[in-house]
């Protein structure tokens, strides 16, 4: 089978190295253009099983704001990100919440939790 060349940009750091991978018979034979090891790791993952972090919001009842920002504790399969975002649109939590609290455990059975990015007090709380 012919050698397939894939060109991609690493997203790990602001340098955004342009990396070329050569793939033959489904196996990555060569990776070039990266300035560090993380670039190679990223390239392998991006070609075989791309992953992305997800940040979004969920609704929160009684919070000082109507929305709570959330973040996936690890990267999710890239092709599942939109579905996860749609799922989170239906999630409602209740204040108070602490940063790191899990708002959706094992989202869509993917083995990744979604956690609160910040504290959010109840708007009924007494201010000291």
């Amino acid at each position: 089978m012919a050698v397939e060349k894939r060109v991609l940009n690493c997203i790990n750091c602001p340098m955004g190295c342009e990396i070329t991978a050569e793939i033959k018979d489904g196996i990555i034979e060569k990776i070039a253009g990266n300035n560090c090891q993380r670039g190679e790791v990223y390239t392998r993952e991006e070609i075989t099983a791309p992953k992305r972090m997800l940040t979004s919001t969920v609704r929160i009842r009684d919070g000082v704001l109507p929305l709570l920002p959330v973040v996936s504790v690890r990267a999710l399969p890239k092709e599942k990100v939109m579905e996860c975002a749609a799922f989170l649109r239906q999630v409602i939590v209740k204040a108070p919440v602490r940063a790191g609290d899990v708002v959706a455990a094992n989202i869509l059975g993917l083995g990744v939790d979604i956690a609160a990015s910040r504290d959010m007090d109840s708007r009924h709380a007494q201010k000291v």
Partner: protein
Amino acid sequence: MGEIYDIIIVGGGPAGLSAAYSAWENGAERILILERDREVGGILQQCIHNGFGLHHFKEELTGPGYARRCWKLIEDKKAVTVMVDTMVLEVREDKTVLAVNPKWGVMELRAKAVILTMGCRERTRGAIRIPGYRPAGIYTAGAAQRMVNMEGYLPGKKIVILGSGDIGLIMARRMSLEGCKVQAVLEICPYSNGLTRNMVQCLQDYDIPLYLSHTIVNIKGRGRVAGITAAKVDEKMQPIPGTEFDIDCDTLLLSVGLIPENELSRELGLELHPLTGGPVVDQHRETSISGIFAAGNVVHVHDLVDFVSDEAGIAGKFAALLAKDQLPELRDDIPIQAGDGVRTCVPQHIRRGARGETVRLFMRVRRPMRKVRLEIRDSETLLVSRMLPVAKPSEMIAVDLPAEKAEAVHGGLEVTVREEV
């Protein structure tokens, strides 16, 4: 209220919070932060995406996460007081600050030093003169971001974004994740101003077309946006007749630049730099009025909040020293010139004291370059020479002038960049 604060900080975003911490670390005892929103954190509270803190906290954080870290550092410090829901109306040369809030009404507050950390604002449609109607559905990207991420409403359903800077790219992804259709991102320059990683994870991931060297020549729809007309531009960024095409949309998000929020600075009579739009500052981030410091986006618009915290840390430290009357005696003033290839450089001058200090310069280049030779020289010698693989106008570069070199400077300094073949 009759007391005199050591330091009053105008603005409780990452710059203000970091300045407060650094001021406390350096012995200031009465620090007051005045914040106009209902909580501190500034613009970070609406930047729910990650990518913050890799340098400053050695951890990848979301915007609210970074704000929380900054807040946690000063939360329990008795020396620091925060007043939210408070707008500063005026800062005076004698370091009196006029502010207002619903609870205390109008307040005249006094301080030994003031740090300006008001951040920046977005450029508007009016400023770039887009023709067409003025229907509902046109928002600056930041205003839309606030509505989507903090208040829970969408600006629209079918979106076109003008401007490929990071805010525009981030909003392209955000709107897609919220179930909207992002039709296109248009960028007037021949290159994108955003980070490559954002091009990948915000545009490529969502199959959103990016049209470089394009602009908007018409907005349709009278009550609500009903579409836009895009056109290619030439080297002078003027629309090329005959290249127009329509894009169906009900929303236009503008990501066309940021400007330091400099109204207070202007009214105070600070010397402002024509290119940064912010006050001229020395290496301590002291402005042209003694005792008034400035840091963060209000001085020059940053890309990384980590640099904002660094800069604010400097301002906080020296404001604290000034409040304690411990600011070193200054012996001379070295201007710093942004030379060939460099658009802006902060600080704009160094006021040398008795002790030598390393000075960190923050600069932006004029155009994208590869294999870049960055040099800092004085009237006689080459002092610093660095090689950078890549330099872009949208990515601020930090370079240190070591203390012993700073000590040895004759005349003025010039920073230059050029492409090495």
